[in-house]
Symmetry: C2
Subunit: 485 residues, 2 copies
């Protein structure tokens, strides 16, 4: 099918569109706190004026493969504990202050609650020539923008429905249902949290307990989280409480391994991390924050995610899974076709450690750096080194630190000339997009039993094609929305 061009509007029409888009966003919570954060003020989140074209086939492939990915990561965590532990041990050597400390928390913890809740997001770029989806990373902790993704879908449907994408204003430019569907992620992620609550209560939908959101101080992206929280209360009657890692110790109490909020004595069924995924989340007060992490891990509350589930998101695992023999082991119940569907999403990933395999990676890093991006094993986005900057970056490091990075083949996504609005300014530049597919699962880390395995909507983020980093809150990218063709 052919792609509709972006709507062509006159200068006045675009101005009107921007006004209506901004007011809808401010009137419906498609917002972020401004950088100089004041509690009573919000800005329109950085967003695109139009939805960005995504091949229907690529989109559906990404949605379809999500449950297999959920299962794959569950099995990585549960099916061969020795293998997984040895990887984590090895990584801990290369990155003792973060991966190492997380692994230490896992080792020290009582493991009293075998159930783990995953709110995952698998991120893809689409290969320009083939429309293949290629996985950027699989996120197992603090996946964001599920709330705002639903909102921008509603916004674009509103603009489309009121004819504002049509220069004559008299028909819908896109078909709402077929072409610009709304992501159900806000509601679906809330359903995931409700599932955690349900299994905490041994399969009863109790609303007497609360979900504890662990958040970053001065979070600018609170509203994204709040939309999930509001859906959780509205659709499931489950309340939430929010603390930073630093505040945990003062505000919670543990009794017979059960976690309670001190002020109310509300029992916590699920601890939902929207912090704790990057070293900086522990930097200000390492002792207190790491102690908090262990304290929470050590309770019966279901963690979203547990330390172990979080650690499965390391790039090293992603790299190892690109090998067919490894993935076959962890998806032994899947058909060949399913296996291939998963495998086809991978690009080449090389380790840089002192193994045989690392040899290849190290060679490529210096000989063909223009084909690669260098990524730290850690979660959290950012800190990537691109192309010709790779050799000099590596040279500055101690060789034994190289193992904390992976070398990943660059994907060549198509560019589109969408428009981005940030702080009332409209940018009209080439953008590239990243499709994230959400999934949720409750599983037993000890037995490997999978209690739920669900799709949970999607997210499209875009950034200028000349910018290498894509974090929305960090200021490089924006929340976008799909136009399926």
């Amino acid at each position: 099918m052919s792609i509709k061009p972006f709507p062509e509007l006159s200068h006045d029409q675009e101005k009107e569109l921007v006004t209506n888009l901004s007011q809808w966003s401010l009137g419906n919570g498609l917002v972020m706190y401004p950088p100089n954060f004041e509690g009573f003020q919000a800005n329109v989140a950085p967003i695109t004026l139009f939805p960005t074209p995504i091949p229907k086939e690529s989109f559906h492939r990404a949605v379809k493969v999500q449950k297999l990915f959920n299962e794959l990561y569950i099995n990585v965590i549960t099916k061969d504990v020795k293998w997984f532990s040895s990887i984590l041990e090895d990584l801990s050597k290369h990155d003792s202050e973060f991966t190492g400390r997380l692994f230490e928390v896992y080792q020290k913890s009582s493991k009293i609650q075998p159930l783990s809740l995953g709110l995952f997001r698998s991120d893809y770029m689409i290969h320009q020539d083939t429309n293949e989806i290629k996985q950027i990373e699989f996120n197992t902790v603090s996946v964001s923008f599920g709330g705002l993704s639903s909102k921008i879908g509603q916004l674009h449907q509103y603009l489309n429905g009121t004819g504002q994408y049509d220069s004559k204003y008299n028909y819908k430019y896109y078909d709402d249902e077929d072409e610009i569907p709304v992501s159900t992620s806000a509601s679906d992620l809330a359903q995931g949290l409700a599932d955690g609550n349900f299994y905490y209560h041994n399969g009863e939908p109790k609303t007497s307990s609360v979900v504890l959101f662990i958040v970053q101080p001065n979070e600018r992206n609170s509203f994204d989280q709040r939309h999930v929280e509001y859906a959780l209360f509205k659709e499931h009657g489950i309340k939430s409480v929010r603390f930073t890692l630093e505040e945990v110790e003062e505000h919670v109490t543990v009794n017979q391994n059960r976690l309670y909020i001190k002020s109310t004595m509300d029992e916590v069924s699920v601890v939902y991390y929207r912090s704790g995924y990057a070293p900086s989340d522990y930097d200000v007060n390492p002792e207190k924050t790491w102690a908090a992490r262990l304290l929470l891990e050590d309770t019966l509350a279901i963690k979203c995610p547990s330390v172990l589930t979080q650690l499965s998101g390391t790039k090293k695992v992603q790299q190892l899974l690109t090998k067919k023999e490894v993935i076959s082991k962890f998806l032994s119940n899947s058909s060949d076709q399913e296996l291939n569907e998963v495998l086809s999403t991978f690009v080449a990933i090389y380790s840089l450690d002192d193994s045989n395999e690392g040899d290849t990676g190290r060679k490529l890093a210096f000989e063909e750096p223009e084909k690669f991006v260098l990524k730290p094993q850690r979660e959290g986005g950012g800190n990537n080194v691109y192309k010709e900057n790779i050799p000099s970056f590596l040279e500055k490091l101690d060789k034994q630190e190289w193992g904390a990075y992976i070398l990943m083949e660059l994907i060549n996504p198509p560019t589109h000339k969408n428009k981005i609005i940030r702080n009332n300014e409209v940018f009209h530049e080439d953008i590239i997009s990243e499709l994230g597919v959400f999934g949720t699962t409750v599983f037993n880390e000890k037995t490997g039993e999978i209690l739920t395995n669900k799709n949970a909507g999607w997210l499209l983020r875009s950034k200028f094609s000349n910018s290498n980093e894509g974090g929305v809150a960090a200021g490089f990218g924006c929340v976008d929305n799909i136009y399926l063709y």
Copy 2:
């Protein structure tokens, strides 16, 4: 029934409440533009932390009497044209630049569209000792806060539902349904506009035409209007367009008396004024804005309100209606009980003109000013003169200008110690509240036929008891919510 005291929260609990209330407001459009208006930023609207107690009986009386008031004003406009015209002529003499010009628009206009749409709001204070509702004014043009009123109801229900009004956080302090119901005004006012659209199309629910919102430039309270607009589109599929009075001429065109938006050739079924009610709306460019008013009046589009309906909201009419013989004439089909229900809402109102009746008013203004407020005949709020300031104010005026004012008995409402949040600051002072009840109606100005007559939710606004003016956008008051006891 006894009144529950306001929730008693610790300092920390109140701080948490304020954070949650602010984020909910920013995340759900309970917002206003900041004074230094930038298009991409919004502030939490000035609101109360808690709902304010209103006697159930008083509230229901105000709701019950609304349709009678709608009917009363329709009949004032339609049943005795000579009488109404003579009043307007007389007022025009005293206030030639505003009432006079409006009346001139009426006289000059073709009156080609006999149907008129009223979105009305009757405002009351409750008398402290008797719980009687006493009418402050009956607004026939640009009634505001129907959108934000629904939002604050949802906010307070959310805070109550999540246990945040209870110092132990473990039960609902109020009963959601019985005690703090949510005003349906956003949806009901949209229904009113849809009714206008319906009758424009001779009783067909067409969505091919649009509603034209006439707005003020740099409106800080846009979101209140937008919530009505979004409901109109979501619930009825009817689109809206927004122009200021100054922009009208450039952007509309008339063909065979039908009004069209130039750029799209969308036909306008309803012209909805959220501007044009105060002299200042015409001040910047009187020629252009008054011409725009006449242009719109002269078309087949149904005006909300027509000039004549707007003029029925003058204080002079309010004053005359306090007389039983006048009101009986205009509610001739109502029972004695109904008449008394309406009459019981009135306080004494005196004219200050050179009639016999004016004599009494003039005497009281100088002898017992402490019992009164002096109000201009014009709509729009503000510009009232209170108590002991009245004599000196009048003395500064030309005596023939006195007729442009009415003298109104002050109501003595109870004070409550609710808390108001503005710009992140919490004020804990005595407040007084004003209850507004919305109503909508489509009627025929020529024949007096009433096509629809509906209730449309309510609004509670509060202000510091030591501040005399209560406009929310102007910065003196705030949007509140009822707790019925």
